[in-house]
């Protein structure tokens, strides 16, 4: 099930320098947001949510509609490394996803 436009989930974890905050609170969560865009098809966004996150179809569809109507949706809150992996996968599929520290 390796996504073909993004790195496979099993890809080696990138090594990076932890920032100060991460050393203090290594598990502090990051929100992963997906932003609306005028090109990606609604059915494609549902497909990507199901494939990347394993969401059931109704959940994926609800989040897609939230992106469509609200302009963005929170799709995950995870420790930094996992959030980065999600952003990478979503970018690989062409969705505009960003992460930010959970407030």
């Amino acid at each position: 099930m390796a996504p073909l436009l993004s790195a496979a989930p099993a890809a080696p974890v990138r090594e990076r320098d932890a920032e100060t905050e991460d050393r203090v609170r290594p598990d502090a969560p990051w929100d992963v947001l997906v932003w609306d865009d005028p090109v990606n098809l609604m059915s494609y966004v549902v497909f990507v949510f199901r494939r990347v996150f394993g969401f059931p179809e109704p959940v994926a569809r609800k989040l897609m509609l939230e992106v469509h109507h609200q302009g963005r949706a929170l799709v995950a809150s995870e420790p930094r490394e996992q959030a980065e992996l999600y952003v990478q996968q979503l970018h690989g599929y062409g969705l505009h996803a960003t992460m930010q520290r959970t407030s």
């Binding site: 090109v39 609604m42 059915s43 179809e57 569809r61 990478q88 970018h91 690989g92 960003t98």
Partner: protein
């Protein structure tokens, strides 16, 4: 119009017209050139390698630098794989027929999406009111290609992932297609 994608045993059969194949080859070459050039101020590059961290420019720069090589490698590999799939296809009904397994089908879906994103970025689709026809012919043509690729994607999604079809059967009526 006959279907471009249909279930065929364990495979998904892609049947493209000769004109579609020529168009896809040409667009694939065009996207490859843009990716290899990688001009940071090119809107296509900006769209395919977008902001990654929304509230921290420094962290964004760092993460985008990390992601960029992997995403670029994956995108170029996908274009090569599409080329291979076309090479393996058989001439059929004046066009090309290729039987895809599930992973190859997702690859095709993703490349079509990258091509649509690239066209959208090139014409500045976010600034275009789709109800009004654009005045210049090049933009009109590019939008038509984008829509056609979207139609191919919809057909592929319908056989790749049947539940997603529901989005179009009971959606909110505000879809673009």
């Amino acid at each position: 119009m006959s279907r471009s994608f249909r279930r065929h045993g364990q495979s998904i059969r892609m049947q493209l017209a000769a004109g579609e194949v020529a168009l896809l080859r040409s667009m694939r070459d065009g996207l490859r050139a843009v990716l290899e050039d990688g001009a940071p101020d090119d809107p296509v590059i900006a769209r395919l390698f977008p902001t990654a961290v929304s509230d921290d420019p420094e962290a964004d720069t760092e993460l985008r630098r990390l992601l960029r090589d992997e995403l670029l490698t994956a995108r170029l590999a996908a274009l090569d794989d599409l080329h291979e799939l076309f090479e393996q296809g058989q001439e059929s009904r004046g066009g090309l027929r290729v039987d895809l397994d599930a992973e190859q089908a997702v690859l095709v879906l993703g490349v079509f999406n990258d091509l649509r994103l690239a066209i959208g970025a090139r014409v500045g689709v976010e600034h275009i009111e789709r109800e009004q026809l654009p005045t210049d012919e090049a933009t009109t043509q590019r939008l038509a290609v984008m829509d056609h690729l979207g139609w191919l994607q919809e057909q592929l999604l319908a056989v790749l992932d049947p539940p997603s079809v529901q989005v179009h059967l009971d959606g909110d009526g505000q879809e673009r297609r």
